[in-house]
């Protein structure tokens, strides 16, 4: 098994780490998942300090929007093509102190703004199950490096399913905890009220261990929760006796792929067999259809402000200009991709004083209504499940999806509820369609990481799909 235990049982962390580095180089030739390979030499020389750490000697990957002191951190954008941070993100410190060793910074959609990884400054990331298909995004590089067996753990970030969707496309676990559970300090943002640090593992037990390492109050992030870190891993309990699991029927109805329907039905039957009570949950269809436009307005409005610091004056790639204003404007024009500029225009438009009522404030209102509906949906159950996407990873060239269909609006975007609400949400492997993975998503109540992990473990045992690896030759 290529899980945490597999690595920590090897008595020689240096060897395990160096093997991962070699594997990363080899896999990257096919996957284009790495922005920067990190020489682990210095970390290994300091590693003994962290003996006994929960992730001791485990090679890991960080999404390239996680600040790492002294190591290039680009957020997938040209404008940060030369940015070497002066400080470590809080999670980079926590992972180091747990004994983890960073071997690479991974590719992402520019600033995490995308679901395809096609907008990365370093180009597309390829799906290990089919190199003509997308990794998904925005945490595409991290997802494929875990899926292809290079590392057992990678950090991602999830603003609108950016970990949970690629997890589905790559047959691995993507865990997004409650908003505020993991500090965002040092994560290059997309949209602050929706951004979550999330991560990939290949099984639920590793996810529980990783959550223990990453969680905890950080005074440098005011949205960080004042809750103690729990012993998630040792408290793991997959028993479904007395558990009530809701099925989000709106999503199932929107999915046309019969293989996914069949896999999901098998899972539900299995959960029932283990003692779970299954409940159909139907949420407000109009509200679910409004998730995507609501998300677009809030996320892009916050993003346009969040990225106003990128002016080429104090850091990043600076372009020439006669006046300071010209330097700022030239640097931004050259530094951002087309998609990003489009999003800034949308975000800015929504914030204009004459538009705020009908766009930005309305979107915030709709967000509250959606969260309220989700809260009600969860009130009588322990967790809510549905397939994590309407299909397998799309072809790199595929633009055929009808973006006004409920298949797209609901089945491909409902997981953004987890970002609106901040509720814990995890995607796990559900099965394979013609050899390509698809996932199942589980969302639970605010703060209730333990139930999320317990139900996820039950699902993992039901599918038998822990520790899935697709090596690329």
């Amino acid at each position: 098994m290529m899980n945490f235990a597999h690595y920590t049982n090897q008595k020689n962390p240096t060897q395990a780490v160096n093997q991962a580095v070699e594997a990363a180089k080899k896999a990257n030739a096919k996957l284009n998942a790495v922005v920067t390979l990190v020489d682990p030499g210095e970390q290994l020389s300091q590693l003994e300090k962290y003996a006994g750490g929960k992730m001791f000697g485990i090679p890991i990957v960080l999404k390239d929007n996680v600040n790492t002191r002294g190591i290039l951190t680009t957020a997938g954008s040209r404008i940060l093509g030369n940015y070497v941070p002066q400080y470590d993100a809080t999670i980079a410190e926590k992972l180091r102190e747990a004994g983890a060793v960073v071997i690479a910074k991974s590719s992402l959609d520019e600033f995490g703004m995308g679901g395809s990884n096609l907008s990365a400054a370093t180009g597309p990331v390829y799906n290990p199950y089919d190199l003509t298909r997308m990794s998904g995004g925005s945490s595409g590089g991290s997802a494929v490096l875990v899926a292809s067996g290079v590392v057992p753990f990678a950090i991602g970030s999830d603003t609108g399913d950016s970990v949970r969707k690629p997890a589905s496309y790559n047959g691995i676990v993507g865990y997004k905890p409650t908003y505020g559970r993991i500090s965002r300090y040092g994560i290059i943002p997309y949209a602050s009220s929706l951004d979550h640090v999330a991560f990939f593992t290949r099984n639920v037990t590793d996810a529980a261990i990783a959550l223990e390492v990453l969680s905890g109050r950080d005074d440098r992030d005011m949205t960080s929760l004042q809750l103690p870190v729990e012993d998630y891993a040792s408290a793991l309990n997959p028993s479904l006796k007395g558990k009530r699991i809701g099925i989000l029927t709106n999503v199932l109805k929107a999915i046309t792929n019969p293989d996914i329907q069949a896999h999901f039905a098998t899972l539900v039957a299995n959960l029932k067999e283990q003692g779970a009570t299954i409940v159909d949950i139907e949420m407000n269809q109009d509200l679910l259809s409004a998730i995507l436009p609501t998300y677009y307005i809030i996320a892009n409005a916050e993003a346009t402000a969040n990225h106003s610091n990128l002016d080429g004056l104090r850091f990043g790639v600076q372009k020439e200009g006669k006046e300071v204003d010209e330097v700022m404007s030239a640097s931004r024009t050259a530094g951002f991709g087309k998609q990003i500029r489009k999003r800034f225009v949308i975000g800015s438009y929504a914030l204009f004083v004459e538009n705020q009522d009908k766009l930005f404030r309305k979107a915030q209102k709709v967000r509250r209504l959606i969260v309220e509906d989700l809260k009600n949906a969860l009130s009588g159950i322990d967790g809510l499940i549905a397939p994590a996407s309407a299909g397998v990873a799309p072809k790199l060239t595929d633009t055929s999806m009808d973006q006004l269909s409920s298949t797209y609006l609901i089945a491909e975007n409902y997981m953004v509820m987890g970002n609106f609400s901040g509720y814990p949400s995890v995607t796990l492997p559900l099965g394979y369609c013609d050899g390509l993975p698809v996932g199942v998503n589980l969302t639970c109540k605010l703060y209730d990481e333990q139930t999320t992990l317990n139900l996820a473990l039950a699902i993992e045992q039901a599918t038998g799909l822990a520790d899935q690896i697709k090596e690329v030759a």
Partner: protein, 475 residues
């Protein structure tokens, strides 16, 4: 035509805190450029704001004394605009929910006290400083992120005198509270004056201009007077006043156009997502208000009650540092009036009383009190005390100075009488003169005694004893 002037004032006041509004970088003035900054002040990617609790405390103090209603839920917003001195590309401020609103303050005017309403007080962060040289622009981020409060008055002032009185009143209050250094020349207190004219009797406001960058009370006065003159000349000619931001030019003695306000800028305000609303604990707020320091008015009342004159009480209160020093002296002496005299008349002659805390000044309140007690007890004369003072400022003890300089005042009657008898014997002509009604003779004789005692004779006692002795020698 006769116009009524309408003035509203916005004051930006830097808060006295050890660290910045949203970062742990130190707040200082005039340090080496860009030495008091960290990744948050420079808006490096991934940084997040952490609210300075002490800044909130300072704002609460200011709200309390300005009679503002305090919002128990602290919320911040983003004000978006691109400018090289604004690293994040937005300023974190309190647009929608200021911490304080609907307050007022009373100001002295030539027609008695006047109430000026205060619309709001909100917290925000300062920007960096830009320096333009020929073809280059330099930016110093030390100031970036310094905690600020902005205090916005209602348009309740009607002339330059009231405007100056308002700013002076706020400065004094904020300084006494320890909320700010209020140094206009260093920019820790900055005023924007909104000013418009309207025909006397009219209710509608005229078109206003905003005068920025006023760095002294006198500048406020002259700028307002110049702007009133400029606007009334325009209106008299039938021209319109243009809504604009202006600055006062010292040389031209008038206000100069900085920029027109054609359609206001859209700052696209929205709630700051990185700072969740913070509920202030009522007990915390109550405790801050309960432990507010003494304000200038209360202090003046206290001075009057311990017997100081109106003048002394006023002068002392106007200089908080000196007044604090005076209060320290009173811990070691009950000579309130003598102590006030020394603080008001003598110290300013030899010390910079605006900066008593400077390293050059080693004068302690205890030493000055000892000296005052010495004067009262007749141990030294007031004249001797003036010679003692410079030594106290150098850090010497009162007792040590007196001993080292041999300044003991001779108040021993027997000893003095011996010298007086000797003097009168020598100055027989003066004795005759005295009895012939020449008053100056007494002064001459006292002077002679002083000379013989090298200035150590107690002058009052000497004078009394000489008079007695002269009476004995009446021909």
């Amino acid at each position: 035509m006769n116009y009524e002037t309408v003035i509203g004032i916005e004051i930006h006041c830097e808060l006295k805190t050890a660290t910045k509004m949203f970062s742990p970088a130190p707040v200082t003035f005039a340090k080496r450029p860009n030495s008091c900054v960290n990744e948050i002040d420079l808006a490096h990617p991934g940084t997040l704001p952490s609210l300075n609790k002490n800044a909130v405390k300072q704002a609460i103090k200011a709200c309390a004394v300005l009679n503002l209603e305090i919002d128990p839920l602290i919320r911040f917003d983003r004000k978006n605009y691109y400018y090289p001195d604004l690293a994040k590309g937005y300023q974190i401020t309190q647009q929608f929910h200021p911490i304080g609103k609907n307050g007022h303050v009373s100001i002295p005017t030539s027609n008695g006290e006047k109430i000026v309403r205060i619309n709001r007080l909100h917290m925000e962060e300062d920007t960096a400083k830009q320096f333009h040289y020929n073809t280059e622009t330099w930016i110093d981020y030390n100031r970036a992120g310094t905690p600020l409060v902005e205090i916005v008055s209602e348009p309740d002032m009607r002339n330059a005198e009231e405007a100056v009185a308002y700013v002076e009143k706020l400065r004094s209050i904020l300084y006494y509270l320890g909320v700010s250094d209020v140094k206009m020349e260093e920019g820790s207190l900055r005023c924007d004056i909104n000013i418009s004219l309207r025909p006397v009797g009219s209710e509608a406001y005229g078109v206003k201009t905003e005068i920025k960058n006023l760095n002294s009370l006198n500048n406020i006065k002259v700028a307002i007077e110049a702007e009133i003159k400029r606007q009334s000349e325009l209106l008299d000619k039938g021209d319109a006043v243009e809504q604009a931001t202006r600055r006062y030019d010292d040389v031209a003695k008038t206000t100069i156009l900085m920029r027109k306000k054609e359609g206001s800028v859209d700052y696209k305000y929205f709630p700051e997502p990185n700072i969740p609303p913070i509920r202030l604990r009522k007990e915390w707020v109550d405790e801050i208000i309960a432990t507010l320091p003494e304000l200038p008015e209360a202090r003046k009342e206290r001075y009057l009650s311990i017997g100081l004159s109106e003048y002394d009480a006023t002068v002392l209160t106007q200089n908080k540092d000196l007044s604090d020093f005076y209060d320290e002296i009173l811990k070691h002496t009950d000579q309130t009036k003598i102590a006030a005299n020394w603080c008001i008349s003598e110290l300013p002659a030899v010390l910079d009383t605006q900066h008593l805390a400077s390293a050059k000044n080693k004068l302690t309140p205890k030493n000055l009190a000892d000296m005052i007690n010495g004067i009262k007890a007749g141990a030294i004369s007031s004249k001797q005390a003036k010679d003692v003072l410079p030594h106290l400022i150098q850090g010497e003890n009162f007792e040590d100075v007196v001993n080292r300089l041999g300044l003991k005042q001779v108040s021993d009657t027997g000893e003095l009488l011996r010298v007086i008898v000797e003097t009168l014997d020598e100055q027989a002509q003066s004795v005759v003169d005295f009895h012939n009604g020449k008053d100056r003779a007494l002064g001459f004789l006292v002077g002679q005694v002083m000379k013989k005692t090298k200035g150590q004779a107690n002058p009052a006692l000497t004078s009394t004893l000489i008079t007695e002795e002269l009476m004995k020698r009446k021909p």
